[in-house]
Symmetry: C2
Subunit: 261 residues, 2 copies
């Protein structure tokens, strides 16, 4: 379990550590294979959680009940709810992505540093009904326990792939006919004014929390848009910025009927 704190181990093993009722239940509902459940029976009261444990136990998954002090040591929640699991899951590869449909939206998240931000971004992308998220470059990865928790388990539901080099994600978009939209504080047209092609898949490309997009990534994007900053700060949180751009694009192109609930 401790080894899964290491990004390389997560990727090589294809496994991750999930904590929290919502995230564990999403992993179960997504049909992921469970290796083990760690629980704190003394603490866990949620009927939803207890029902999930029953299902997992019936399926032969080992469920280890720990005393509160031991559970608290493996938890990184302020108030541990008493449910965690080791689950077989890792992001896929760009080659796994289905061909884009004309109204599809994508997100490429480059070099994000904070796992909580990446998780909130995934939850936001899920809300906007994106076709997939590409986690590109260095920084945190989607298998980080804090990312999985703040994604509320949407990480397990979204088509989610990684690209070690952001350039691979841009090249994939080019080859697949997906128009890339980079966010920049200096871009001329605002997200409200920017003209984007209709009936063409689009990818919103966002960068590191401090530094924004890498220069070469910004230069490689087809379109640049700016979110107007009308106060004293010069930028928004990356998940908030992604949500504003995605929902503005979604306003202009509701998802094709029947493709999503």
């Amino acid at each position: 379990m401790r080894a899964l704190g290491d990004r390389r181990v997560r990727q090589t093993d294809g496994a991750c550590f999930v904590e929290g009722i919502r995230a564990v239940c999403e992993a179960l509902d997504a049909g992921l294979p469970f290796e083990a459940v760690l629980l704190c029976g003394e603490r866990l009261r949620s009927t939803v959680a207890l029902a999930a444990i029953e299902r997992l136990r019936a399926a032969g998954v080992p469920c280890v009940d720990l005393p509160p002090s031991r559970f608290a040591r493996l938890s990184d929640m302020d108030n541990p709810v008493g449910l965690a699991a080791i689950v077989r899951w890792a992001p896929g590869e760009l080659a796994d992505l289905a061909p884009p449909a004309p109204e599809d939206l994508y997100v490429v998240a480059e070099d994000l540093g904070d796992p909580g931000n990446l998780g909130t971004l995934l939850r936001t992308a899920d809300g906007a009904g994106v076709a997939a998220v590409v986690v590109a470059g260095g920084g945190t990865d989607a298998g980080h326990r804090r990312c999985l928790r703040s994604s509320l388990g949407t990480a397990f539901r979204l088509p989610l792939v990684r690209a070690d080099e952001p350039g691979e994600a841009i090249a994939w978009a080019g080859a697949a006919g997906v128009v890339t939209i980079g966010t920049s504080a200096h871009a001329a047209p605002s997200v409200w004014e920017a003209e984007v092609p209709e009936h063409t898949a689009l990818a919103v490309v966002v960068g590191n929390e401090e530094r924004g997009l890498r220069q070469e990534t910004a230069a490689a994007c087809d379109i640049a848009v700016r979110i107007p900053m009308l106060g004293s700060a010069t930028s928004l949180n990356v998940a908030v910025a992604t949500g504003i751009v995605l929902y503005e694009l979604r306003r202009r192109r509701p998802p094709a009927a029947g493709r999503r609930p």
Copy 2:
């Protein structure tokens, strides 16, 4: 300093504990009175931070240089940068708010539980150029150190007031002619379709991360809007949701020329 971890002490003393270079510099630029600066000279390398300390020292503010181990104990950052301060600041009262102008936007944030979320919400509200934020009800307060940090110091720049009872905020809006817009997963019109009055100040009202708005607050709002959820999750992070609604309203009503940079 430890006493400022208590919300009641912060409110009674009218002081707060700020950590991080950006937040401390914003407090300085906002002209707030400093009581003390805590720094770790061994760790602090930022020229911006060192210049700020020089300005404060010249103004007679006591600056205490701590060894890394002692600074780490008062910090709650993973990698402490080595700069913190005690600053005289607390949110104001509803009665302090200036009369609304017709194109003004406000946010009322009710019962938010997580200080990081409240800080990100403030940063977002600042970006959208709101006239003020009302922090209403229980939960966290804007003086919490994690809120101040994740707000990037915008908490010190924004007109920011508190209302112990959310009903007071709704009553203020009614009396000031501000139309309230509650966010709800069940509202009929989406944020894209909702009709809102032109040339009338508007307040976006958002609720607790888990429970959403209190029933009586939702019922008291003039308009209800829904953010379409097109994936598996049933809600967005509260700061992301606030950003999507604020920027959609701002799209329809650019800020009056000259009122904001």
